[in-house]
């Protein structure tokens, strides 16, 4: 299907059925990638976006899970904070971009903050929801054995929600890329988002298409890494 699409794209642009100046073409994209690679620019932009995405994803996922654990632990805190989290979740996060730039400067910090703004609240709400939906009869079973809150969490709540946590990570990969690209649109001087904005401003659509292609490849690689993690978790924990 993908091969057919690429072949069709190349043929239609070669025959001028669609305008290669606007839609580029596979051969022009390859040439652009080759030029970027030769002058060393390609890896600089990829590594910039990759580092920002992996940092944002790791910090967002880890801190989101940690905050969900704290809120599960304390029903009082959960009751106080949950309405605020729901409001924050409904807020369009790109609106926070200028605030991050003013507070943290036009650099990597703002881009990672944007990534966190997009992924953190969703992570907290989804993981907390999974924790709170743990079968109460199973909790009762552990309480009968004399389990305290730590044991209920480590023996039941966490293993029962590993599958949900992996699903949250799958969603977070996509959200982290959204955060990074949005952040780079706003502030950066390097990265795939920067290349896309620069390409569109100077009307180099080959550069835009090449950047989108790299973006798709790396998003796919990270998604596949999470799918492998999911297989590992399912195999070792026999989750249904």
């Amino acid at each position: 299907m993908l091969v057919l699409f690429i072949a069709l794209w190349e043929i239609l642009t070669a025959q001028r059925v669609i305008d290669p100046f606007i839609f580029s073409s596979p051969s022009r994209v390859l040439k652009t990638l080759s030029n970027l690679s030769e002058n060393g620019e390609l890896w600089k932009h990829i590594s910039t976006s990759l580092i920002e995405t992996v940092s944002g994803f790791s910090i967002g996922t880890a801190s989101g899970i940690l905050i969900a654990v704290i809120l599960w632990w304390s029903p009082f805190l959960s009751g106080v904070l949950e309405p605020h989290l729901i409001v924050l979740n409904a807020l369009p996060k790109t609106a926070l971009g200028p605030i991050f730039i003013v507070c943290m400067g036009a650099g990597t910090g703002s881009i990672i903050a944007m990534t966190l703004a997009i992924s953190l609240i969703v992570t907290i709400l989804n993981v907390l929801n999974g924790f709170l939906q743990t079968d109460m009869e199973k909790v009762r079973l552990l309480r009968i054995f004399g389990a305290g809150k730590v044991q209920i969490f480590t023996k039941l709540v966490l293993p029962a929600n590993l599958s949900a946590i992996v699903n949250v990570m799958k969603v977070n990969i996509g959200l982290s890329w959204v955060g990074v690209i949005t952040g780079e649109f706003l502030v950066s001087k390097a990265g795939l988002g920067y290349l896309i904005v620069y390409g569109s401003q100077v009307f180099k659509m080959d550069l835009v298409m090449a950047s989108v292609l790299i973006l798709a490849v790396f998003a796919l690689i990270m998604h596949l890494a999470i799918v492998m993690l999911e297989h590992f978790v399912r195999r070792h924990f026999d989750l249904k």
């Binding site: 009869e137 009762r140 079973l141 009968i144 249904k240």
Partner: protein
């Protein structure tokens, strides 16, 4: 006497009102007895078990286990719930050892005791498999061994056979009774099934509609030496069944 329940009452507090679930419940259970508790739906049987397990404090009355007042969850009491609640991410062996891990009793002696029980009751071959591969009967045996291995004196069985089909239920209930008797444990079984209670028990207690009270206690010494499956053929069986049914006072409209 192992367990003494004296004038126990329990009132639920809901935001709208108070609901009296148990009222002046009194009975005793001796060492090694297998006692059944029957009663209409919603009469407070499971509430009584939760109170006896120490999960809920009675609003009145007192519960004594071996003479000591029961104030919270006690390792001397084991509780088998309606479902087996085996954890799918643990092997059969790891499920059985769950209570030992929580109570920090997972030592050589207890691990060997768990192995003995698994060998005795047909779980040794599947010890390292996930519980998803077990039959309904094997799952219930696994849940019982998980309860027994922590060495409770007194077992509370909250309709543990209710999720099984009729034939499996009969076989598993007799199997579970035999394990409890062999391990010399005392048990209180909550059931809806009068016939099952006659088959398995040394004593049957009948509860009234809510708020639950004990309205009759039947001593089944006449069945003492008769194996469970043969009790149905005894002359006393039908009359006892009718009497308990009458005491339950269940009407269908």
């Amino acid at each position: 006497m192992l367990l003494e329940v004296k004038d126990v009452g329990f009132v639920y507090q809901t935001p709208e009102r108070e609901k009296e679930a148990l009222k002046d419940v009194s009975f005793t259970i001796g060492q090694g007895e297998f006692v059944s508790l029957v009663g209409p739906s919603g009469c407070g049987k499971s509430t009584l078990l939760a109170v006896l397990a120490g999960l809920d404090r009675p609003t009145s009355g007192v519960i004594r286990l071996e003479g000591q007042e029961l104030l919270s969850v006690s390792p001397a009491i084991g509780y088998m719930l309606q479902k087996d609640h085996l954890f799918p991410w643990r092997s059969v062996r790891a499920n059985i050892e769950l209570g030992l891990e929580i109570q920090k009793k997972k030592d050589y002696a207890h691990i060997k005791a768990a192995e003995r029980l698994m060998k005795c009751y047909g779980l040794w071959e599947v010890a390292d498999m996930p519980p998803g591969q077990l039959s309904g009967g094997m799952r219930q045996r696994c849940a019982l061994i998980r309860t027994l291995i922590t060495d409770p004196e007194f077992l509370l069985l909250d309709e543990p056979f209710s999720a099984l089909d009729y034939q499996t239920r009969k076989a598993v209930s007799v199997d579970i009774r035999s394990i409890i008797k062999q391990e010399k444990k005392t048990a209180l079984l909550v059931t809806h099934d009068i016939s099952e209670s006659i088959m398995l028990s040394d004593k049957i207690m009948v509860m009234s509609h809510a708020p639950g009270r004990i309205i009759a206690i039947h001593d089944l010494s006449v069945f003492r030496d008769i194996p469970p499956m043969e009790r149905m053929e005894h002359t006393e069986y039908q009359s006892l069944l009718k009497q308990i049914w009458k005491e339950l006072d269940i009407h269908y409209t």
